[in-house]
Amino acid sequence: MINMNIFFKVFLSLLLTAVIILGIAIPTVSNPQGFFQFPFIPGLEEKARNIFFHVPMAWTSVLAFFMAMFYGIQYLRTKNPDYDLRSVSSAGLGLMFCILATVTGSIWAKFNWGSFWNWDPRETSIFILLLIYGAYFVLRSAIEEDEKRGALSAVYSIIAGVTVPFFVFVMPRIMSGLHPGSLGDEQGSGPVVEMNMAPNMLVIFFASLIGFTMLYFWMYSLRIRTARLEQQHYSTE
């Protein structure tokens, strides 16, 4: 059991180290040959590397929020306080990855679009996500009883989750998008999003995706274990 745990951590750190080194160090050339050369994409150029970090972060935060909502529903059904612990641990990690994705995306936008923030539909929706989970944690801090806090915050996260599809329909009608993959994307950055990027980029991208997902699960189990210990400590006092 302990051996598996160590194996997991070593594998995770090696994987993420490899992803970071390869993602940053491999040069982009106009005529790539072999694994250690990236293709040159007009309009994105060196900035294409952001896809190895920004997209996995955004994916991990969505996964974490989804887990938080799932355990919130489980908590409402069973009233088992352990589910509330899982829910809040996952929501906290989701917020952290969401902030990381916002920062990396914003820096990328500065050099690709010319400004750190210009209310592109994707930027707006990630901003709303930050607002929702900011409000979620404020709500939690306002309630003192454990049982009530768990139930009310779970209800809030479900109500907030229900509105998400509306952004998909509403946002494109309000403003046109600049983000790669939006309609009318003419910058030539479409191929990256449509998953027909170069094979070696694809390998690193998926390695990064797996690495960040594993990182999330590791941090998640750590948070749950410390939260359980904290709870034990306070209940025996």
């Binding site: 009310l152 809030y156 109500i159």
Partner: protein
Amino acid sequence: MMTGLIPYQIFVKEIISEFRTRYALNALMMFVVTTLTMVVFSLGDNDVPYEILSGMLWIIIFFSAMSGLSRTFVAEEERGTSLTLRLLTKATNVYIGKLMYNIVLICSLSVFIALAYQFIIDDFVVQSQSIFWVTILLGSIGLAGASTILAAIIAKANTKGTLFPVLSFPILLPLLLTCIRATVLAVEGAFISEALKDFQILISFAIVMIAASVMLFNFVWND
């Protein structure tokens, strides 16, 4: 009572207890008048584009709705009457009764705001009145539908008023953006077919919010 209170009786009870003091009505009227005056003074003699005026209208509606709606369940907790309601009937009945009252409250409030706004601000000329009033109506129903359960959450939390706009803003944003867009269309004098997509969004928002609230209200009400 064997059958339990039906939602309509809760609705009537809300109306009666409101008219006993007229607190919410008077406070909200004064709130609206104050805000409108501030808007008029801050605009001065400048030519303001109608897009900004449309947004301003919904800012006023949003914040007055927030101050009106937060009272529905808080007042129940303050008077200590929520326990009686909980004994008398199911959570769903309470929710539907409160929702009906909130819809009536917000609809009359936003109709009042919209009339006063058109009357006071000369630059705000609505060319398609039908789109305008349908937007006001559907927007109010969506506002009330999404906010009723949040008001119940707030009443159970320790902080009463301040948290309400913080919680409801991210949830109401798709509604508000759509309403502002439809109002711009109304001012431009668009055909009603152009605003149909926005109306669809508003209607489905209200339906989804009310359906989710009916399912979840029990967890908030019976803790």
